[in-house]
Symmetry: C2
Subunit: 679 residues, 2 copies
């Protein structure tokens, strides 16, 4: 049996202590869990005031000496005592409410197992009014009394404050609610159960809270010590794993909450979703506005929906999303993150949707833009299914796992950065959504537009160029599809105050020669250094995007002049130098990985003209060779779309660091090398 709590009510005269205690006693009179202490007072029984036991001072002191009192104290010329029998109540699990005095709190706390001080306060005006109303003291006496500061309560005591500035009923209500919350606290006990990513709390069937309040398919919030988690409830039989005042936590729940075993915590039912009607409306095919999306996404992120309902919402949203909805989603999602603020008139960005192998123009565009002087805080992804993401390639040269402060400092020093977006643009919305959409293969370009635009907003960009490659092997299958998405990007950008220029580009085959981090960086450096082997297509695409971005500088204004300026910065070596500045600011890699030494050249089995190169297939071979984790692994294309080849002529060289990787990649290429020859 867990002992009850001794609630000691303290507070200055005039604060309304007696009124609140009387009110609470009346409200809890039928509740057997509570006892209100009847005090011993050296005042005649018929002298009015609280119901007390009259006793002489001598008898009271004698009782104290004989161990008959829990505590005794003097005040206003009287002596007070709390009978020792209250301890039996406490040990029997009953909570005791007693009118006390600050002076005896420390002694009392040492005498009883659990004690909470209920400190009643009120503003000085209110207290002064109440004291004046009693008419026992003069105005001066009252002012003097109020000027005496209340002594600080010891830090070792648990003190809960009740403010009694309003009507008596309000104060009583508040006192009752503080008492109730304190008695409903549970003691944390980790259970040796691992629910596999499921946070589970276990309630004893005979628990002090009553399981019917928390049972069912919904979730609960568990809070204590400034921390909280949301969890599912399981119930354990009475008398087995948990005492009635305990709450069990699965390993995941215990680790996430992070409080020590034995901590006191409080449990509440997770409030229902405010957004339920909106979510249902979307599932049933209707259009939502920004307010709807705000509440739906918040309830999703805060774990108020079961997975089935999130999945239903996502499927519905990927099926139909109007332009206005994409805009609403973009701004709502941006609101979920703290945006970066730049003290710049123009902050540019560039995004490419749907990976084309080798298309590493960001590593050329960002240095050109930086060399010109515009700010470009670029964040990029790592590869998920491709042979290298921009972040993987940049990591060949520099550290990319930057903090927000690193990004700020790099852009300050070098005008641009090329950072990994994983840490910077982390989105709780994406986490929840991806967990559900990936197994189902749900992918919606319109939903992605909202996500991309929201991230650009969060990054503090003002102008964004979007590259939309289309092709039979690209994510966007046709020019029409790419153009439609481009229009959506620009419309949505406008609706949230972002200047977006989205361009459909040819994605018929890889761009550049290298595929894999180090090989792609080699191409990039060839372009920046004007090397004779620099891939013309990579240089051309980079110049086109750089020119477009530079045209946003009012001093340049047109894309033609932008392109000319970009070419000039490339030719002069200024862009190469800018990349060096960015690398230095982000943190230069000491050893720069080179293309891996083990190679095998895949050759044409018959003569013909190369009609198509399947980027997914080539990326698959490069990954099999070790990219992107092995920076040096990948593919070096020897021939491109439109080239004529003779039988036995090399098509591409596979690079790998380990023999088995090379062998596996060669075997994969023997199955399908991705080259479609038109004889």
């Amino acid at each position: 049996m867990r002992p009850g709590i001794l609630f000691v009510v303290v507070g200055p005269s005039g604060v309304g202590k007696d009124t609140l205690i009387d009110g609470a006693r009346a409200a809890l009179s039928a509740d057997p869990r509570f006892v209100f202490a009847r005090r011993l007072i050296t005042r005649p029984a018929d002298a009015g005031g609280e119901d007390h036991e009259a006793i002489s001072e001598e008898a009271l002191l004698a009782l104290g000496r004989d161990g008959g009192l829990l505590a005794t104290w003097g005040a206003h010329g009287l002596r007070y005592g709390l009978p020792i029998s209250l301890r039996d109540d406490l040990l029997a699990g009953r909570h005791v409410v007693a009118n006390g005095s600050r002076g005896v709190l420390k002694d009392l706390a040492a005498t009883v197992p659990r004690m909470i001080v209920l400190s009643i306060t009120a503003s000085p005006d209110v207290v002064a009014r109440r004291l004046a109303g009693r008419g026992r003291e003069s105005a001066e006496e009252i002012a003097l009394r109020l000027a005496r500061a209340a002594p600080d309560l010891s830090d070792a005591l648990e003190v809960l404050t009740v403010t009694n500035d309003g009507a008596p009923d309000e104060g009583i209500e508040q006192l009752l609610s503080v008492i109730d919350a304190a008695t409903r606290r549970l003691v944390l006990k980790p259970l040796p159960i691992d629910g596999w990513r499921d946070s589970i709390v276990y309630l004893p069937a005979d628990g002090i809270l009553g399981v019917e309040e928390f049972d069912g398919p919904g979730k609960v919030d568990l809070a204590g010590g400034g921390r909280s988690i949301r969890a599912r409830v399981n119930v354990v039989d009475a008398g087995t794993l948990l005492a009635p005042h305990e709450i069990g936590l699965s390993r995941e729940a215990f680790a996430t909450l992070g409080l020590p075993a034995g901590s006191e915590v409080s449990l509440t039912r997770t409030p229902p979703q405010r957004s339920r009607d909106a979510l249902r409306a979307k599932v049933q095919g209707r259009e939502l506005d920004a307010d709807d999306y705000e509440t739906v996404l918040r309830d999703i992120v805060e774990g108020r929906y079961p997975d089935s309902e999130i999945a239903a919402f996502l499927v519905a949203a990927t099926r139909s999303l109007s332009d206005a909805e994409v805009g609403a989603l973009a701004s709502v999602r941006a609101g979920f993150s703290t945006p970066l603020r730049w003290d710049e008139p123009i902050v540019v960005d560039k995004h490419s949707m749907g990976g084309i192998p080798g298309s590493r123009i960001t590593l050329i565009v960002a240095p050109i833009v930086a060399a010109h002087g515009l700010a470009m805080p670029k964040t990029s992804s790592r590869a998920i299914t491709s042979a290298a993401g921009t972040a993987d390639a940049m990591e060949v040269l520099a550290k990319v796992d930057l903090t927000v402060d690193d990004v700020r400092r790099t852009v300050e020093q070098a005008r641009a950065c090329i950072a990994w977006n994983g840490r910077l643009n982390h989105s709780a919305v994406d986490d929840v959504m991806n967990a559900i959409t990936r197994p189902l293969g749900i992918d919606s370009n319109r939903w992605s537009v909202a996500s991309i635009i929201s991230k650009k907003l969060t990054a503090g960009s003002t102008h964004v160029a979007v590259d939309l490659p289309y092709g039979r092997r690209a994510k966007l299958r046709s020019e029409a599809e790419a153009r439609e998405l481009a229009a959506l990007f620009e419309t949505v950008g406008r609706s949230v105050g972002l200047h977006v220029e989205a361009v459909a580009t040819c994605g018929a085959g890889p761009i550049g020669r290298g595929i894999g981090p180090a090989l792609e960086v080699r191409d990039v450096l060839w372009v920046l250094e004007g090397h004779e082997q620099a891939p013309a297509d990579l240089r051309e695409k980079a110049l086109a995007f750089a020119g477009r971005i530079l045209s946003w500088d009012p001093a340049i204004a047109t894309q033609e002049r932008g392109r000319a300026r970009a070419a000039e910065l490339l030719a002069s070596g200024a862009a190469r130098q800018a990349l060096d500045g960015i690398v230095a600011a982000q943190g230069r890699r000491e050893i720069v990985p080179k293309p891996a030494a083990l190679t095998h050249t895949v050759r044409a089995s018959c003569p013909g003209r190369i009609g198509e190169i399947d980027g997914w297939c080539i990326a698959g071979i490069a990954r099999r060779a070790g990219a992107p984790f092995d920076k040096g692994a990948g593919i070096d294309l020897l021939r491109g779309v439109g080239d004529d080849v003779t039988a036995g002529e090399g098509l591409f060289t596979i690079h790998a660091s380990a023999g088995p990787d090379l062998e596996a990649a060669v075997a994969m290429a023997a199955q399908d090398d991705g080259f479609v020859l038109a004889r």
Copy 2:
């Protein structure tokens, strides 16, 4: 420490025992969990055969007397013994495999804690060939040996059989797999945890199976004693709630499995969904064929998908479902149930989609059809949100909770039945789907068509009339919508070999006067008995549907003649008598509830013409008065759409059995009585 299992291998000469044991010994030589018994044999050590310890007969018998043997037996002129040290191996948790003899099994079982007999068998031909190959016996001796039947093994022993008819490697493989499965069995232990409808099994972290094999988000199948459940896995710390050989079950899992604590069970990972690609394709908006739906629905029903993926599938399916897909779904769903077969050329049915209050034509149509002589095994629903379903109304007169045999007998005796569909058409698919679609408010008419047609197929119907009421307050809002759905019903019916005639009917207001079970039955009897108060609209609609159904009898052939025949059966009292026959066959209610005695009449507050009656509103008032659970409660309409009323004229009378119900219904009607007056 749980003791190991003593595996005693037995079988007749020539069955290949030695070969199998040698093979198993070689395969398990590196596994410390297994010990292979080295026997004591009264045969010189260098005499060949198995590796044994040579001992004299006297010494062996002496050893036996001194407690040095687990067992001893004689065979083929030799004496064999198993050393007592094997018991130490067993008690240390190691499994022992021993070549034994049928004669000592009972004694052995009494000596060791766990024992399994591995009975090696082979077909007589194979054994004869093997024995002949050894050349030790003549053909006659072999024939004689084979003719001796093997003695039956005691029922008290656990015997696992290995058939050794093929190559030695196959036999060894089989023996190893039987041994492995036996050592992987777990002992069932109910844990005092209630996972709230979640079946959870708990594995100890140090369990004999290794948790990594079962951990993760997937499910497991737990089987034993011919029963099995599918459950989620939680892991408990070593040395806490479970011993290594135990498996814990949550209360729900334990109750569902239904085996006693201590039972041995085996655990396997639930196989992945075969239908994953099909489900993903549907989620991504593609069309599925019947084979796809077959596998998807089966995997859903068998619990292989998480709720999120079922929800995604259902949302996608409610968004787009081609006519062909509705047909595929209908036949696939029908395949999930065992269809009723009728020895009848024509089996008719009738279905109404979207409840119109009071429209109880089934209770008139079925008796007419029965009186004519066609078979009509009708199953109907109870009310979900309305004031009465057909089953609720029929229950005023007869038992409706019929078994399949009851239905058969009733149709045999009375040509028709009107039974509750809850028990008869129970669908596991619907159970899973409803649990997910109801909270989301997903409702798809096209999906419903597949469900309805599949149920008619399962009921064994050949001809079905479908009533599709449309109106501003009906489920189908417009005539066009109703007609489109009618066409779909007929197309899908054709595709599965069912003659369906679907008719759009006017659903502008209630049909008949009474709303609520007893009041609706009163209307029905008025029609069947030619009472002057019989509602004309109810009679007319019933005759139209009955006439259409009778026209399927080749002897009648046209709807006009069908209607005339129906009217004749009504006028002659034959239909009334047929209802009586149906009631008698289903089981007559002894006390037929009458409209409830407490009444209140709601009156027009101003004069006008009744433009519309809101069926949902009226049904809500009837339910508030107690319908459908209180059979006598409901509403009696005094006026209909198109009637002129004066201020204070009665619009409808509320019937209730209890004062508070009447008051609540009256209060509800005072808010909105559902009558729209055009002044």
